[in-house]
Symmetry: C5
Subunit: 358 residues, 5 copies
């Protein structure tokens, strides 16, 4: 009943709402953890069964259902039934190639986010999909297998740090959204560092490897951009606070996330500008260096050409060549060569071709 495909194109002929995992193939099991808390205390539960989940959903405390791994579509389908999720929502959760978006349903809000990290080894931005569902008193979070972006929030709940234990499920949803956006700053910093490094390397070695790295960085910037731009609309919508599930208390916090998103967008655009500028600089340095080489080589060639001509003249075999008979002829010829060389050097130097730095 459940199939698995790797790209949207393969999913072509299936009916809409089919529960099919789209994304990298993963094998680890799906883990469900529940965190139930209020100002008084925290209660954690691992791998609850369907009955427990249904019971916890209706508790008065804030309940957070964390699902790690979305490739076992039958588990998602079971959760979808318990929480009454629309088939398309279930489909979007297991299809990890969504754009960030927010959808409003009668009893819940559905958010799709991209959690980004920077893989130092491959110098690549890695995007993993995170889905959040905010209901009345509960939050459902889905993340891809082997990736947990929410450890800091869990610690804050357990440690009772900040306001989180005193506020509702909407604040929890905000905290999760915020922690995802916070990761973008780290990615930006890594990209900015890599770009900085490229810039200093340009001085010493502007070879083709630099070009490819710039090309690669540009692509990473694009990836970041694709994750952040739609988020702007999402957070702007949330900040306007038009849904009853979002209380006025949480709105200033959502405005803060909105600000961060705009900040990330700004920084991303700056990064792109600066990479484009580095590309120009690279091309101009390479071209300058090539010109430099050509110039030095051509100067050498040009210096020797008249000398070789003079030597050629006195290598001619005419019977009657008076200079050849002079006893100091050879030295005169060498002298003439010296004079020509010095003359040309002076001419080049005056034109500024010998010393100019570019």
């Amino acid at each position: 009943m459940f199939t698995r495909v790797n790209s949207l194109a393969d999913k072509d002929s299936l009916p809409p709402g089919s529960l099919v995992h789209v994304g990298e193939e993963t094998t680890g099991p799906t883990r469900i953890t529940v965190l139930e808390y209020d100002a008084q205390g925290v209660h954690a539960l691992d791998e609850p069964d369907s009955g427990e989940i249904a019971r916890l959903r209706d508790e008065p405390q804030v309940v957070w259902f964390r699902v790690e791994g979305v490739h076992q579509v039958e588990i998602i389908a079971r959760l979808g039934e318990i929480f009454g999720l629309h088939p398309l929502v279930q489909e979007d959760i297991v299809n990890t190639q969504q754009r960030p978006k927010l959808e409003e349903y009668d009893n819940y809000l559905f958010l799709v986010l991209k959690d980004l990290s920077f893989d130092q080894e491959d110098q690549e931005v890695v995007a993993r999909q995170v889905s959040l569902i905010l209901g009345r008193g509960w939050v459902l979070s889905f993340s891809e297998s082997g990736h947990d972006p929410f450890t800091a929030v869990v610690e804050r709940i357990n440690g009772g740090r900040g306001r989180i234990r005193h506020l509702g499920a909407d604040y929890l949803a905000y905290a999760l959204l915020d922690s995802v956006v916070d990761h973008y700053f780290g990615v930006l910093e890594s990209l900015a560092d890599a770009s900085q490094e490229m810039e200093s390397e340009l001085d010493t070695a502007a070879d083709q490897r630099v070009l490819r790295t710039l090309h690669q960085l540009k692509r990473q910037g694009l990836r970041l951009r694709k994750a952040v731009w739609p988020l702007r609309e999402v957070t702007a919508w949330l900040e306007r606070g038009e849904h009853e599930l979002v209380s006025p208390t949480v709105r200033p916090y959502l405005r803060d996330v909105y600000d961060h998103t705009v900040q990330v967008i700004d920084a991303t655009e700056s990064l792109r500008d600066s990479l484009a500028s580095l590309m120009d600089l690279y091309l101009s340095i390479v071209s300058n260096r090539m010109n430099q080489i050509m110039k030095v080589l051509t100067i050498i060639a040009t210096l020797f050409i008249p000398l070789t001509f003079i030597a050629g003249v006195y290598g001619m075999n005419f019977k009657n060549m008076p200079e050849l008979e002079w006893s100091w002829g050879y030295f005169a010829a060498l002298g003439l060569m010296g004079v020509v060389t010095i003359g040309m050097l002076i001419y080049f130097w005056r034109k500024g071709w010998l010393l100019s730095k570019e």
Copy 2:
């Protein structure tokens, strides 16, 4: 009474609303198939006559009239009469050079779409026009001859898979729209593959064929873009669900199509960005390689010029040239040449011209 032209420019002097087929000339006959269904069962009918069509139109079940081939304008005109279609709608159906659009009439909605496929042989995006008319309880679909984009939907109806048999004509229209948009992902993937291939080919052979292929891919990206951008407005309008023919149940599905459309637009823009970037890379690789050639050749030339000069000096015929008389003069000259060569090589090596990779 019915004429046929191949481009809009030829249609110039005809009165508006003239039923003229604009598009590639096709000869196959126009096929009409009817599919009548509800949750209980499916009933199919081939090539119905006008009376049957009029009767089926008013059945309580969902009735889908599939028309393949739009070049026989008299058939379209007959259908137009039965269903009460505006002359301009009839004109748009037979003119296959429309932009995707949605038009609202009193009793029906009219949609023009572009079904895209990728012709692997010519490496070209092929666009075929699909027109949908959603009425009360029925859907009319028109596709170009020899092209049936809806087989998957037919199978789903016959097999009773998904929700399609339980929902109305608006869901059917959605399913048809969705199946067209789904094809875009396949086209995108083919283009992305071709672009990927170009990128890996750049390393080995950046010749002019690559340039032309990039040029060609860019044009295909443009074609895709032209089909998708207007679709965004169309699906956004549908999703807002302001027309009574579109029921609230179908709205989430239409939002899903809207999301897919935006995803395709995003991917198309990324593809264009990445092709522009590849073009830059190509130009820079070609220029680097040319510079490389020029450099190696110039170094060889420069190395030999001073040597040839020395040989020229001792080829002069002066009577009095002491070196010529020395018994080890020849070997001294060869030694001098060796020293000069080594000196220049060291100089070049220090400047980094001998080993630098670009």
Copy 3:
């Protein structure tokens, strides 16, 4: 009282609303033709006097006043008086350098359009101004002298083809607007053909003439664009149908014109994109060819330089040069030259410099 100037800059110091013809100087007389029709019949009248015009204006049938030639400003002034046109409207009619626009007055709508044609000889887009005034039951059309863009509409009225005889003056105005927009497709096709031709010529002869032609085509595309973009707003306004002079029956037709306008805009943008792309291709082909020349020439030069050096060595006049005494020395030298040449050819061939196509 009536002056004539050729450019807006010359009109500088005149009071606003001055009736001054701005445009190419033309000498032919202004022709006025009247066409009065309804479903029953058509009645034509040439060169009516002021009284007749005033009488016809109030007839219950649809009356179309066609004015060809706008340089005789006194005639325009007389018509303006009869129909109660605002002085600025009269000014805009005789000033043929207007942008396309629509102006709403109490009793009439005023439209300025650009009728385009493509002059095959000069390869130029020629724009001629057309003004339409839609009143209650009548239409006034103005075109520049020696240019009649409306023959097809006249024929349709006379022949009774299409709906035109059954609908009102608003449909007539639509038909005139539509016939102008239809001409754009012809212009677009000519430009696309010229661009296509350029592309195929690039393969055989990418010389500077191609560059100039591309430059010229780009300018024509710009001209087309300037005529079409403002028309989009005009037709969008008309389609919204907020003016009582435009009846709901005509609205679908106006939407059709709007669609055509957007189609023309799309095609214009594609043309511009494709011309920019051709320009890039041209530059890259020229640069490739130049590089090709330089490479072949440099390879030849480089091959001979070491050989010349060897010849130079054995041309030295040292007393003691053992090789010179060997009887097979000469042939050994020639052999050495052959070995060097073959070695360099192998090196070049391995590097791929001898066969690479760019």
Copy 4:
């Protein structure tokens, strides 16, 4: 009490609303002229005192106070008191580095415009600030010293030409605005002429002077653009006619000015496009010519290199060189050289390197 500074940066630490002249230092006196008129007649008054100004302000006729020179801030301050102008309005009048704008106050409208002219000598667009204040029945106009942009309007009032004497102060304000916008067409024409001239010069002499002139023209286009873009909003606002000081009669005229502004913007953008295109053409012509030089020179060099090699071979001093002994050896060598030369010429000619025009 009144200071004078030359740039906004120097004004840094002054309190807002400080009356400080910002602009070129000018020395001429400030001239005030009053023109009082209605349909019956015109009454002019030079250099009125404060009492007269206050009296004229309340006359039933239209009164136009023309102030030439804004550097004597005390005069502006006195006028500001009489007419009840806001301190910031007074500040904006004397600060000639404003952007064009419109400000709405309780009893008057305040307009800032840029009157442009083209200095043929420096090939520069010169911008001079004009401020207009439209009150109930009066207009105050301020222009920079030594610059009177309104002579045509004065003549029209005195001569009673056009509608000006029959309409109110709002029409006068319109007439002044219109006369400023009309000047833009002259500037545009001068720039277009200069650009045209550059284009024809490109054929004969594409030297660096052309580059600098293009650079300069681009900058002038930018200046024009900066003056016109904000004017679009200003005239659009006026045309919507939401202020009671602007009567419905004048609205069609304001729409006309709006149209002119949009026309100027269009032409400015076209100019910029065409200058960018000329820049491309210039670069391509220069590069073509350079390539041409390099090609001719390289061909000459390449032709002689094999010949020199042959000469070198027979200049070797081997004892045993059979060819040297042949009596026709020398002529055979010369013949070989001729054959090689002709062979290379044929090869070059076939490749199209000898005759190709670029």
Copy 5:
């Protein structure tokens, strides 16, 4: 309890609303100064304790609390408590990497600005964050340690110059905002000067240092832009005057600030345009100069190549070479060389290669 981090990425795992200083590490103490004033007089107080601050906040006069230094987060927290500031506002004050923004709270408005100055030594735009809080009758201002952007305002209050002492806290907030925006003109002028200098240097020495400086200037322009663009929205919002804390009297002043902001944006865009244009000019000058060098050198080389060939011919050792025997043969050869040289010079001169300036 209070930590200090240097970049947003390090702040990643902290709960939102954590009071953490983000920015350059600074050590100086935080200084608080209070200025209480009305039309009658001014009262200043340094380093007030919490009780004094709470008392002053409720005084009927305008009270301005100036805080210099935001790195001692415990002081900010204490002030936050006294004035009832939202935790996120406190967080934004100490985090100096905010974008300019305006936030509306129930009892106060919160503004974040960037005060810019131009560091002449490093040729860098330095941005320091300024936060303003406008309450009922009081203003709180925060600036970074060692930086006081408000001295001019303090002087104006003390000296009783301008309107400041007669208007309320909203005018004070305006005055502070205005003084920050005024600094931008100074920065712009410095950047424009540097750009001007670059332009004149291009004529004499277009070396790689120029390239780097242009690159650097472009980056500074970007920095300016990032500070100004968001300010536009902020001032536009304030000018619309929708908040009760902003009285109608102050609105014209806020419109003035808005105008200045738009002026700065305009000038920034012009600067960027002009820098891009300079970059083009630089590249074209460098390329021209390189071409110039190559041309001169190649001409020299080409002149000598035929001469060397002639010398080579008469250096051949054929037994039978009639010219060698002629007594005037040598001089004839020299003459031939002269003729060839003159011929080539004439050819080059005719082609315009010897004198052309580029």
